[in-house]
């Protein structure tokens, strides 16, 4: 079963790198969308079926935490697993993101294997 993924990061370069890591990890990738901030991501979610969201926290416009709060308001979208890929490492902000329902956290910089391992874990749980 192929999974549709939404990658949210204000750096186009980083979005490409994440996509490449996801592809190389062997993850069964269906459609992939990219967004430069939370607002763009919300708009994509409104129009496309997404199985997994990979997002940064620090973004101009709507940041990652603000996006998570918006997603939580929607009954369908709040079921979509969200994984943070971010340089943010402070305990308080990670706790805040966990309270908003993230399923995993990958700190930047990352090895592609870290993406593979966490995606496998999360999508198996989501399928169950």
């Amino acid at each position: 079963m192929a999974y549709n993924v939404l990658i949210v990061d204000d750096s186009q370069t980083m979005r490409k790198v994440i996509l490449k890591a996801v592809t190389l990890s062997g993850f069964d990738l269906g459609d992939c969308w990219e967004a430069g901030d939370g607002r763009e991501a919300i708009s994509i979610l409104a129009n496309h079926w997404v199985d997994l969201i990979l997002t940064d926290l620090h973004m101009p416009g709507m940041n990652g935490l603000e996006m998570l709060r918006e997603i939580q308001k929607d009954e369908i979208h709040r079921q979509v697993p969200v994984v943070l890929i971010t340089t943010e490492g402070s305990e308080n902000r990670i706790q805040e993101a966990l309270a908003l329902g993230i399923k995993g956290y990958i700190p930047k910089p990352f090895h592609p294997e870290a993406i593979r391992d966490i995606l496998t874990q999360i999508m198996v749980k989501a399928d169950v």
């Binding site: 204000d10 750096s11 186009q12 370069t13 980083m14 490409k16 790198v17 490449k20 620090h58 101009p60 971010t86 340089t87 943010e88 490492g89 402070s90 305990e91 308080n92 902000r93 700190p107 930047k108 910089p109 990352f110 090895h111």
Partner: protein
């Protein structure tokens, strides 16, 4: 305080380069500063004392938390281009300049994010979006009264500089 910041910054830079680029990076000339840098033009000095030629990219991020200030990454354009190609797994001649600039900003973002998360593990710092410019001269933006930690590194036989300017 500066000694801790310097050591943490060295560790962070090493981690980022080894993890993202599979490159070994080492410090070259180190300058720990409380002295004003006025009148002393900054340089990027490699391991053999060689000076990297222009142009350069300068990426700047503002930070605010226990302290506030600016963190600036100075990287030779050629090196930035090679790192971007390596990072993205493409040939250098396929890269638009915008992608090289974006990568330099993202590199500074990773350095700043990791460094300041370690300096305040509980609350972290607020960081601004990176602003990256192509520059020909390495003019200093450090104010004379500010305290600055400046580190020179050598990677892939070229020099790279990180400057952390504290304003409070």
């Amino acid at each position: 305080m500066f000694k801790d910041i310097r050591e943490t910054a060295i560790s962070v830079v090493s981690k980022v380069f080894e993890t993202m680029f599979y490159l070994f990076i080492e410090t070259s000339e180190e300058v720990e500063g409380t002295e004003p840098s006025k009148g002393k033009p900054p340089q990027i000095i490699g391991k053999q004392g060689e000076k990297s030629p222009p142009p350069f990219l300068r990426s700047e991020i503002g930070f605010q938390g226990k302290n506030s200030g600016k963190i600036r990454l100075y990287i030779p354009y050629d090196l930035a281009r090679r790192l971007t190609a390596n990072f993205m797994g493409v040939e250098e001649n396929e890269l638009p300049e915008s992608q090289v600039m974006d990568m330099a900003g993202e590199l500074n973002n990773m350095l700043a994010g990791n460094l300041f998360s370690l300096l305040d593990k509980t609350n972290g710092y607020q960081l601004t979006v990176p602003i990256t410019e192509r520059i020909v001269d390495l003019e200093t933006k450090d104010r004379p009264e500010s305290s600055t930690v400046t580190l020179n590194f050598n990677v892939d036989n070229q020099g790279l500089k990180l400057s952390i300017q504290f304003e409070s």
